[in-house]
């Protein structure tokens, strides 16, 4: 059946009615549903974070008990990982942008796409429902035997993670099929925007690693029901085995979070530097290099777990190689700036912030991969600082870049550059004030997940708490001006950034089925230069 939307309509206002949103098969609408759902969860996860930081303003109990505190960091971690960072760029941004960049009408399996959203929503509801069953206090890592022996609702939270995993698998499957099958005429592999390459690499990890999480959770359930010892030492099981399984998924999951962010950065830099991206092929290859290495480094989370010396040796060695493709990307972005013509719009500012924090996150990652060094740092605030530098610093900064970059395309309106800069400053300075002191807490040996701490650590914790409220203020400002722009913003042209990728070659916001005429690709995605400016 031929679907054509009337001239002058777009995906937001055609077709009309609430029902047309609830059962929509349009990738843009599903992307937007993900987007606002994820933003809501981000708010909740962020409030938990501020609660943690308030409690840690001084040693000893401030306004919550140890049990409450343990629930706060568990919900903060679980929400941020499973409900925010994993779906934030692939499911929200990717859903909207990927088919547009390919020149396609939709993803390959629109119904599966809608199903993956509702599975996500259902998983999220189960996750939040645990709050009414005593809450979960295991940390987002669910280590056995704590998670299986304590009376908290950990089993229910594991079920939520199990459900959410399927959403992730379906999205990955959909993207791989879409990239293979639905590219527009002339959209050859070597003309594929790097954001698509990043989503491809991410999808492979989602497809191959997520089932292991499901398997692990099944094993936990089987042990609970049948009493056969798998992970529980009291039944003759091995708790360290759970850690192996858990990290076999969760380490690649870190790259599910980071690779799409690298993809966003790849889009932003050439557009605002007004020149071709440096080393396109190496950039694409590096994404797959990272994805490949991601599968064989999980043991670096377990250097002190009692695994063998040889295992530690091998995992430390392999982990070092994560830094090589990452380095290639960082240097290539620098080279893309060289002799460019750099415009300081909000997405580019977030690129600068991204580089600043991601490089610190990456370098401290090398420190943690170093076997001898990690023994001291493991499970201290050094690790907390490191992964926040990578995930918040890397992924969240890239997400903010993506929001500002694609805002005109999503909503057909422009945001306020001035307010964007103010909010950026708060987020950037606040973030560093929050997490940089935590490296020093780590040097001084402060363990993570501590409700109470020694007076030695007071000053650095106070800096961190102050920083976290600056970040909160920054996001509050962002919510305000972006919300304002959503309804009152200046009308955006189709291609405000003069970008060359296909999503900008249709109207803003795009109509149902994306393009009025099937696009034909005749040049690379980043062929900026004198003739195209």
């Amino acid at each position: 059946m031929e679907h054509t939307s009337p001239e002058g309509t777009n995906y937001i206002n055609y077709p009309k009615g609430l029902m047309s949103w609830i059962v929509t098969l349009d990738h843009k609408r599903i992307g937007m549903m993900y987007f606002f759902t994820v933003l809501f969860f981000f708010l909740i996860g962020g409030l938990f974070a501020l609660g943690i930081r308030l409690e840690l303003f001084e040693p000893g109990g401030q306004f919550m008990t140890a049990d409450t505190y343990n629930r706060f960091f568990t919900y903060h971690g679980t929400i941020m990982v499973f409900l925010v960072i994993i779906p934030m760029i692939p499911a929200a941004m990717g859903n909207f942008i990927l088919p547009l960049q390919l020149g396609a009408k939709d993803v390959a399996f629109p119904r599966l796409n809608l199903a993956s959203y509702y599975i996500f929503l259902f998983g999220a509801i189960v996750a939040f429902a645990t709050l009414f069953f005593g809450g979960v206090d295991t940390g987002w890592t669910f280590y056995t035997p704590y998670s299986t022996n304590t009376s908290s609702a950990a089993g229910m939270m594991l079920t939520a993670a199990f459900i959410l995993g399927f959403s992730s698998i379906f999205t990955g499957l959909n993207f791989v099929a879409t990239i293979h099958k639905l590219r527009a005429p002339g959209q050859t592999w070597m003309r594929l925007p790097l954001f698509c390459w990043a989503l491809y690499a991410t999808s492979i990890i989602q497809l191959l690693a997520t089932p292991v999480l499901a398997l692990t959770l099944m094993l936990v359930a089987i042990e609970k029901v049948s009493g056969v010892g798998i992970f529980d030492p009291a039944l003759g099981g091995d708790p360290v085995l759970f850690q192996h399984f858990f990290w076999f998924y969760s380490h690649p999951a870190v790259y599910i979070m980071v690779l799409p962010a690298l993809g966003v950065i790849n889009e932003v830099v050439p557009v605002f530097a007004r020149r071709p991206i440096f080393a396109y092929k190496a950039m694409a290859a590096a994404l797959f290099g990272i994805a490949l290495v991601a599968f064989i480094v999980w043991g670096h989370h377990m250097f002190t777990s009692g695994q063998t010396v040889l295992t530690n040796f091998v995992f430390s060695l392999i982990t070092m190689f994560v830094a090589v493709p990452t380095g290639i990307k960082v240097f290539s972005w620098l080279a893309t700036m060289y002799k460019g013509n750099i415009q300081f719009y909000a997405p580019m500012l977030y690129f600068f912030a991204f580089m600043f924090v991601f490089v610190i996150g990456g370098l401290t990652g090398v420190v943690l991969a170093t076997l001898g060094a990690d023994i001291h740092f493991h499970d201290t605030y050094y690790v907390v600082a490191h992964f926040h530098y990578v995930m918040v610093g890397g992924t969240l900064m890239a997400f903010m870049a993506a929001i500002h970059y694609w805002f005109p395309k999503f909503f057909g309106r422009m945001y306020s550059e001035a307010w964007a800069k103010i909010s950026w400053l708060f987020i950037f300075i606040g973030f560093n004030l929050t997490f940089f002191p935590q490296f020093f807490l780590g040097f001084q040996g402060m363990p993570r997940r501590y409700y109470n701490y020694l007076p030695d650590y007071t000053f650095l914790n106070q800096l961190s708490t102050i920083g976290s409220f600056l970040v909160g203020l920054g996001f509050f400002i962002a919510a305000f001006y972006l919300g304002h722009a959503l309804f009152r913003g200046k009308k955006a042209p189709d291609n405000p950034w003069r970008a060359l990728t296909l999503e900008w070659q249709t109207s803003s916001p795009p109509p149902l089925e994306n393009f009025r005429y099937e696009p034909v690709v005749t040049h690379g995605p980043y062929d900026y230069g004198p003739e195209r400016g």
Binding site: P239, F278, V324
Partner: protein
């Protein structure tokens, strides 16, 4: 050089090796941070937007790409190797003659079990300049814990049903902070202990049950605790009116039996010796003599080193690994027959019978 403004005071040779490694790592981090952020800031200013600026269209440069792939790889290999060298030192450099202390963790306290047969809670007493090996486990129905002393830069998880070990040789007399660094529930941040490193003379007095003055706190945890912040004071110390902290014996009185003797008594009273001889002749089961540390040949042709983990498994689940020549002997499993402390005593006894 003194790095204590950033690293906690180093109280052992290994801690100093760790410091040197981490100074190197810090230098590398700062260097590469500048290598990336320096040019980024420079390019952002130098190439800021001007209408009609002529941009470069160079899209790749093979030499440059090889350089920024190869050089980091080489540096990473150097870092890896150095990290391995320090870890090897932490793992393998334990001298032959060392003290052993057995550690049992439960939520949320540490029990230390000494060779002379006594135990202390949350306070680990060791002599200065003496290598000490900790053989650690967590109560079987408990959860994971982790033993961490920042001033020694050592850490190892304690796993129920598994023995892990760690060693150190403290060089400065003082009290050091012990943390639990594996999340273990509501009392996790209160699961604190003190490593009390005594001078050799004081240690000798402590062994004889004499009261001694505790050394001052050093490094992490040296700032006095405001009252009421830390939930419980270590159970094996008391404050005299003079304000001087005095060490007590620990939870037990001076024990009448050493750990080995306790183990020997247990082997007799629980009936182990009915089948397992403590003389060098086979009984119904294999003899204990020369067992510990030996390579045991199993019925399926493989071999296993008889360490704490093997011995524990052989008591709790004897059919998991059947010794060659004993295929037809069916020892019943004895899970929970012995407490963790009793198991430790038995291990010490078996170890005393090693060749």
């Amino acid at each position: 050089m003194d790095w204590s403004f950033i690293f906690p005071i180093a109280a052992s040779e290994i801690a100093r090796s760790w410091d040197t490694l981490n100074v190197f790592l810090l230098v590398i981090c700062v260097f590469f941070f500048l290598v990336v952020i320096g040019p980024m800031v420079f390019f952002a200013i130098r190439y800021r937007f001007k209408p009609n600026r002529k941009v470069s269209t160079v899209s790749h440069n093979f030499t440059l790409e090889v350089i920024w792939t190869a050089i980091p790889t080489i540096i990473l290999m150097v870092i890896f190797w150095w990290g391995w060298v320090v870890y090897r030192q932490m793992t393998f450099d334990l001298p032959q003659n060392h003290k052993q202390v057995r550690v049992v963790a439960k939520s949320w306290s540490w029990t230390f079990q000494y060779e002379d047969g006594r135990t202390t809670t949350n306070q680990l007493f060791v002599p200065v300049d003496t290598p000490v090996r900790l053989i650690m486990t967590s109560e079987i129905n408990d959860v994971l814990h982790s033993f961490f002393v920042p001033n020694l830069r050592i850490k190892k998880d304690l796993v129920p049903g598994l023995y892990t070990n760690i060693w150190f040789k403290p060089e400065i007399v003082g009290q050091y902070q012990i943390f639990c660094t594996e999340y273990c529930g509501a009392g996790h941040s209160e699961m604190l202990g003190k490593l009390i490193v005594l001078s050799k003379e004081d240690y000798e007095l402590w062994t004889w049950g004499k009261e001694i003055e505790l050394p001052p706190a050093v490094g992490v945890g040296a700032i006095p605790q405001p009252p009421g912040l830390v939930a419980k004071a270590p159970s094996s110390s008391k404050k005299e009116e003079t304000g001087i902290q005095v060490a007590m014996l620990g939870d037990a009185e001076l024990p009448s039996m050493s750990l080995v003797e306790q183990g020997e008594a247990l082997a007799a009273s629980r009936g182990c010796v009915a089948c397992h001889s403590s003389e060098d002749r086979p009984g119904i089961g294999p003899s204990y003599v020369g067992l510990f540390g030996r390579e045991v040949e199993l019925a399926d042709g493989t071999t296993v080193i008889a360490d704490e983990n093997y011995i524990r498994e052989s008591i709790e689940n004897p059919h998991a690994k059947i010794v060659k020549g004993y295929e037809n002997v069916l020892m019943p499993p004895y899970p929970g027959l012995l407490t963790e402390l009793e198991l430790n005593a038995l291990m010490a006894y078996l170890k005393s019978l090693e060749n």
